[in-house]
Structures are given as structure tokens and as C-alpha cells.
């Protein structure tokens, strides 16, 4: 017989799998992160189809309550994902900062080509002569 909540668990697993495959398919997540999500989806489905597998794993790892194992691994997974995201945000920030600095430098060189910047008010001070 099916244990209580079997169909609910299975539905949850399938939803996770479908969502993660969709995330990857639409190229919203890439690389290792994409792999992590798909693996998570597969694991979710496997465990909801075979709840006895969870019971067996819980005993093998000397964990008392199966649900604790699920919660523990879930929290661990989320922690790793959020660290990965934090790293990604930091890297993007460094890149946009570099771009902003480059844009500023380029714009300062572009203004040079004209006597006055296109929208500046009249009679600007002459830009400093370039002494190469």
C-alpha cells in the first residue's frame, strides 16, 4: 500500500524536476548550477517514487527520523546554492564596476574630439591640451 502523502510527495518531486529542466532549457541557469538543479529534481522524483529508499538511507546514515534527513539535505542544498549566487553577484558587480569605469574613461576621450560636448552650454573652458 502507499504511505500517507505518497501522491503529494510525488507531485512535489515531479514539479521540482519539471521546473529545473525548464530553467535549464530556457537557459536561465547555466553550467554547474544547471546540473545541480536537474540532479535535485531527479533525486526528488526518485525519493517520492520509492519512499522505502529514504527509510533505508536514513537507517544507513544512523539518522533517527527520515524527515530530519530530508530537511538537513534541503537546508544544505539551499545554503550551497545561495553561496554560489552570492559569489555570482559579487563577480557581476566587479564586472559592471569595471565597465562603468571604462565607460567614463571612453566618454572623457570622446568629448575630446569635439570642441564642445554636444549638449554643453556655450563658452566652455578650452579642454586641456594633450601633451604626448
Amino acid at each position: 500500500m502507499r504511505p500517507d502523502g505518497y501522491w503529494l510527495g510525488l507531485a512535489g518531486g515531479v514539479i521540482v524536476l519539471v521546473l529545473s529542466v525548464e530553467l535549464v532549457r530556457r537557459r536561465y541557469v547555466r553550467g554547474r548550477l544547471a546540473l545541480a538543479w536537474v540532479v535535485l529534481g531527479v533525486i526528488a522524483v526518485v525519493f517520492s517514487v520509492l519512499p522505502s529508499l529514504l527509510t533505508w538511507l536514513t537507517a544507513a546514515l544512523h539518522v533517527q527520523v527520515p524527515l530530519n534527513l530530508v530537511l538537513f539535505s534541503g537546508v544544505l542544498f539551499l545554503l550551497v546554492i545561495s553561496m554560489q549566487l552570492a559569489g555570482e553577484v559579487g563577480r557581476l558587480e566587479a564586472r559592471t564596476r569595471r565597465l562603468a569605469e571604462e565607460v567614463a574613461i571612453l566618454s572623457s576621450r570622446l568629448d575630446d574630439g569635439h570642441e564642445a560636448p554636444p549638449r554643453a552650454t556655450s563658452e566652455p573652458g578650452s579642454p586641456p591640451a594633450e601633451d604626448d
Binding site: R97, A100, E101, E102, V103, A104, I105, S107, S108, D111, D112, P117, A120, T121, P124, G125, S126, P127, P128, D131
Partner: protein, 254 residues
């Protein structure tokens, strides 16, 4: 004008000098700062980095004869300065001097700062080093002293004012800071010195006078000072822990 004789400067000072002025909403003062710098160092290029000001800072700076780079959004002093260092590295300047746009840094000291580059990679224009009327609250003064002591230990040179933004940098320091220059609070002053140390740069200081800020005031209370020191210690720790790339141009030729 109180500018020194050009050939006297030319002998000791590096030849191509870029004066970087980071400016955020300093329309009222940036023009006079640029003019004063140009009067003191007629051969120097003045590069104002407008940190996306909401007022007419860019126009005021351009009208006073500076080259202006406007950032597409506000990055903070560190971002503005690294723009200046990258510019200096790319176009082959031998020295960069940072001068704040609020008029706090007297351009009179520019030649002394540049002269110091003959023996050092970084020369800090330091308050509290000589006779100096710069007034800060006692808690704040203690905080700055404590910080100076800690950074002196880390850097290995006796420094009295590690948060001064009035600095001159030689070619090796420019190469290092064009790559590594934190944008966080206190990163551009305190952490930058730690980075300099970790990349093997020599740091020294010369005494300067600074006028009180024309507007804006530093936090003076005890709580504010405690916060200030804590954040500075975080900046020092980050400087010690982070990985810094030493560019080839900054490695000492043996």
C-alpha cells in the same frame, strides 16, 4: 601665485603628472579646486571623475579646464579613483595625485607630495604630523590615532593619518591600484595601504594642513567613532585576506 619655479619641480618631480579629483555633487567647489591645482602645477593634467553627480559638477569641472570622466552611476570614491588610476596607467602617466573636490586639500602641498615619490611609491599628505590646526572631536581624534597605529603596524611605516585622501602615487602604485582598488567604505584609504604593503610598495608621509570641510561633517560622537574603527578594522582584515594581483609593471626590477 605661490607656485614653485617650474624647473625646480621638473628636476625632482616625475614628468607626467595626473591630478585625479573624485567629485560627487561638488559643483560649488570643484571649479576653484581645479583652478588652484592648475595654478600650482601648470604642466599637470587635471582629471575630474564625476561620480554621477546630480548637480553641475561635470560642467563646472570642464569649464575650469579639467578633463572630465563621468561615471554612469555612483561607485564611491574607490570607483572614481580607480577610474583615475586606469586612465593614468593606460596613457602612461608617471605620477597620480588625488585631490578632493571639496577644497579640503590645499594644492600648495602638491610639489612636496610629488617630491616624496623620488624615494617612495605612495606619499600620504598627513594631518596630525606637524603643526596643524585641523580640528576634530576628541573621540574621533582618538579613533584616527588608533587606526593610524594599527595600520602603521601592518604597513611597517610610522603613519599618523591613514584616512587622508590626499596622496601621491608613483608608477608602481598606479599599476597596482589600476587593478586592485576597493570601492567599499574606507577601502580606498585604509585597505588601499594594506594592499600597497602586500604588493611590496613603499609608503611614506609628509605633513600637510587641511582646511575643515566646507560642507558635510564627519561623525564625531563616541558611538560613531566606535563604528568607524570597527569598519576600518574590517577593511584592514579584508585587505590582509583578499587575493591581490600584482601586475608585472609593479614588480620591482631586481
Amino acid at each position: 601665485m605661490h607656485g614653485p619655479e617650474p624647473d625646480l619641480v621638473g628636476a625632482a618631480a616625475p614628468r607626467r603628472v595626473l591630478v585625479v579629483v573624485p567629485a560627487l555633487n561638488e559643483e560649488a567647489t570643484v571649479g576653484s579646486v581645479v583652478s588652484a591645482v592648475r595654478a600650482t602645477l601648470p604642466d599637470a593634467h587635471v582629471f575630474v571623475v564625476d561620480d554621477h553627480s546630480a548637480d553641475g559638477t561635470s560642467r563646472a569641472a570642464a569649464e575650469s579646464g579639467a578633463r572630465v570622466a563621468r561615471l554612469p552611476y555612483t561607485l564611491g570614491v574607490g570607483g572614481a579613483m580607480r577610474t583615475g588610476y586606469r586612465y593614468a596607467a593606460r596613457y602612461g602617466f608617471d605620477a597620480v595625485v588625488q585631490v578632493d573636490a571639496d577644497g579640503q586639500h590645499d594644492p600648495e602641498h602638491l610639489p612636496e607630495l610629488l617630491d616624496g615619490l623620488a624615494t617612495s611609491d605612495i606619499v600620504i599628505g598627513a594631518r596630525f604630523a606637524g603643526s596643524d590646526p585641523y580640528a576634530v572631536g576628541s573621540a574621533r581624534r582618538f579613533a584616527m590615532r588608533l587606526l593610524a597605529w594599527v595600520v602603521s603596524l601592518v604597513v611597517g611605516t610610522r603613519l599618523t593619518d591613514v584616512t587622508s585622501g590626499y596622496r601621491a602615487l608613483g608608477p608602481r602604485a598606479i599599476a597596482v591600484f589600476a587593478e586592485n582598488y576597493p570601492a567599499e567604505y574606507l577601502g580606498d584609504t585604509v585597505e588601499a595601504l594594506v594592499i600597497a604593503r602586500r604588493c611590496g610598495l613603499a609608503v611614506t608621509q609628509v605633513p600637510v594642513r587641511m582646511s575643515a570641510r566646507e560642507h558635510g561633517r564627519p561623525s564625531q560622537g563616541v558611538l560613531g567613532s566606535v563604528m568607524y574603527v570597527s569598519r576600518a578594522l574590517v577593511a584592514i582584515a579584508l585587505g590582509l585576506v583578499r587575493h591581490w594581483v600584482v601586475p608585472a609593471a609593479a614588480r620591482r626590477a631586481s
